[in-house]
């Protein structure tokens, strides 16, 4: 292995290592993206703070909070907010609920995904407890009101007067049962 061969070998190893690192970087973009979203509130990702110390409300400002319920394509549940809009003061803890009903004849499990607009407001909307934190299961013909407790941070930028909080309901029943191989169609929920 003459000098040129060794030089080539070293360079090629460095380049291959660089390629592998960039492959890893491609996957590292996923957590990096999450952190980036938390900071800038891109795409309405919301911080789930958990219990927050109750501070007195700043009554000088009224923020209009709109609620929206969306069914993802194959989701047959009835799903809507009990109230369309609510006027809230920043710093005030507020309770709200979404109504959900499973009209089908089989047990189903759903996952709600939140999103906020305008994106700049996402980091100032703290959800103390929310039905989107965990999966919601409903038996046939069962319905329930799913609670949501939220606070709007007082540091909300002055120019934001309306915040729209939307929940998209996804059916994750087939995903859960992918564990057991489904032999024929009828075993699946009569969806």
């Amino acid at each position: 292995m003459d000098a040129l061969g060794r030089k080539n070998r070293r360079l090629v190893l460095q380049l291959v290592l660089g390629g592998i690192l960039m492959f890893g970087f491609g996957f590292a973009l996923v957590p990096l993206y999450d952190v980036f979203c938390r900071i800038t509130g891109l795409n309405g990702k919301i911080t789930n703070t958990g219990p927050i110390a109750a501070e007195e409300a700043d009554t000088s400002r009224d923020i209009r909070v709109q609620f929206i319920g969306i069914n993802n394509e194959a989701m047959p549940w009835e799903f809507r907010p009990t109230l369309n809009t609510v006027s809230v003061n920043p710093g005030e803890m507020r309770q709200m609920a979404y109504f959900a009903r499973n009209p089908t004849s089989a047990r189903m499990v759903a996952q709600a995904i939140p999103s906020v607009t305008p994106a700049e407001a996402a980091q100032y909307l703290h959800k103390v407890s929310c039905f989107c934190f965990d999966q919601q299961a409903l038996d046939a013909d069962e319905d329930m009101e799913m609670p949501l407790l939220f606070v709007i941070d007082k540091k909300l930028p002055a120019d934001i007067h309306t915040i729209t909080l939307s929940y998209t309901l996804f059916d994750i029943t087939p995903r859960l049962s992918t564990g057991q191989i489904i032999k024929d169609d009828t075993q699946r929920s009569t969806l």
Binding site: N71, N72, P76, T117, T162, T164, T168, T190
Partner: protein, 370 residues
């Protein structure tokens, strides 16, 4: 003079092109202050590019003509002059900065959060739009109303071919309308050039935009993000009406919704269901199952003589109401009212030789949906 002769055929060609044909070449100034501002931005940057182009290509073509070997040009020996290079880099920088200022101003105006008079949730479905007027419980689907025959060239194309819908989105003039975009399946994009609004509708997320239409009229747009088979067949029609007409329309739509709810409790004969069913079938089902009910082999099942449609009624209702996960068959229960569902199921059970003679009543549908 002889050298110019070969230009004549080209000029002739361009002059002869039919004048009446629609030769639209530019974006529309549109019907809102923002869309006019975008139009001005577009024209400024366009003319800047034309100016730079004329200068650069001018020098180039001049040099191509004058410094040709066949004209005895001798190549000079300069190949570096950083002063000139710095100059021709600084000038575009300055022009771009000049462009960035108005562009930033317009962009900041576009992200204005002031309160809106009317909020509309726009949800993209695979191949139709759904409009919900928040707080006024008006909720309807808007799908392409161009007949299939026109698309398959069996009939002459109408004036608004592929840009016409059955239920347009109606807005009041002069009011700030705030759009909330989301999607139920794949990414779509809602674009109306006259309002200069284009925002992606992403499943699981909500985006917002706004517009204040200043003149009543009909503004058309299309979905601009590839969303599958009929991406080119889900147009957008926005009808801006005066405040009075808009209030009238609001009242009519609410009454129509109640009337439909009431109609669900009346008795419908087989003929009435069949006639209504055919209409609903051609709007919502013919796209996949074809008007003849033959479907597309390997892609969409045929309905003619299929057991699903001729035997067990409940299974038939169930698949129309809840769709079939993992296939393109959507849950139409959320998209059509009880009367339309009953009508289309009855039509499918009795059309194209399937005459099972069953007729499904709207009451049966509402009962199943309870």
């Amino acid at each position: 003079m002889i050298k110019r002769v070969w230009l004549l055929p080209w000029i002739g060609l361009f002059l002869s092109l039919p004048a009446k044909a629609a030769w639209e070449v530019n974006i529309t100034p549109g019907a809102t202050a923002i869309s006019r501002e975008v139009y001005d931005l577009h024209m400024i940057i366009f003319w800047i590019c034309v100016a730079i182009g004329v200068v650069v290509f001018g020098v180039m073509f001049w040099s191509i003509f004058h410094h040709r070997k066949s004209r005895g040009a001798e190549a000079r020996n300069f190949h570096e002059n950083t002063a000139v290079e710095i100059l021709w880099t600084l000038i575009p920088f300055v022009i771009l900065i000049a462009m960035a200022i108005p562009a930033t101003a317009t962009l900041i105006k576009m992200y204005d959060n002031t309160d809106s008079d009317i909020d509309i949730q726009v949800t993209g479905y695979q191949w139709k739009w759904r409009y919900q007027y928040l707080g006024q419980d008006i909720d309807f689907f808007s799908s392409l109303s161009t007949p299939r025959e026109q698309i398959n060239n069996e009939a002459a194309k109408g004036e608004n071919y592929l840009l016409e819908v059955d239920n347009p989105l109606v807005l009041p003039v002069g009011q700030k309308v705030r759009f909330l975009f989301t999607a139920a399946d794949v990414i779509h994009s809602w674009w109306v050039p006259d309002l200069a609004v284009k925002k992606d509708a992403i499943p699981g997320f909500i985006n917002e935009s706004w517009a204040i239409p200043e003149e009543p009229g009909i503004y058309r747009g299309q979905c601009t993000e590839l969303c599958g088979r009929d991406h080119g067949f889900m147009p957008i029609v926005v009808e801006v009406k005066s405040q009075a007409d808009f209030d009238l329309w609001l009242a009519d739509t609410r009454n129509a919704a109640q009337a439909q709810a009431a109609a669900a409790s009346e008795e419908w004969t087989l003929e009435q269901l069949m006639e209504r069913g055919e209409q609903v079938y051609n709007t919502s089902c013919a796209a996949c199952h074809q008007a003849t009910g033959q479907g597309i082999p390997g892609a969409f099942p045929a309905l003619v003589g299929s057991p699903m449609v001729t035997t067990d009624i409940d299974a038939h209702i169930n698949i129309v109401l809840h769709g079939k996960a993992g296939t393109a068959m959507q849950a139409f229960g959320a998209q059509l009212n009880a009367v339309d569902l009953a009508a289309v199921i009855t039509y499918e059970r009795n059309a194209w030789g399937n005459d099972t003679g069953d007729s499904v009543s709207p009451q049966r549908i509402t009962e199943l949906q309870q």
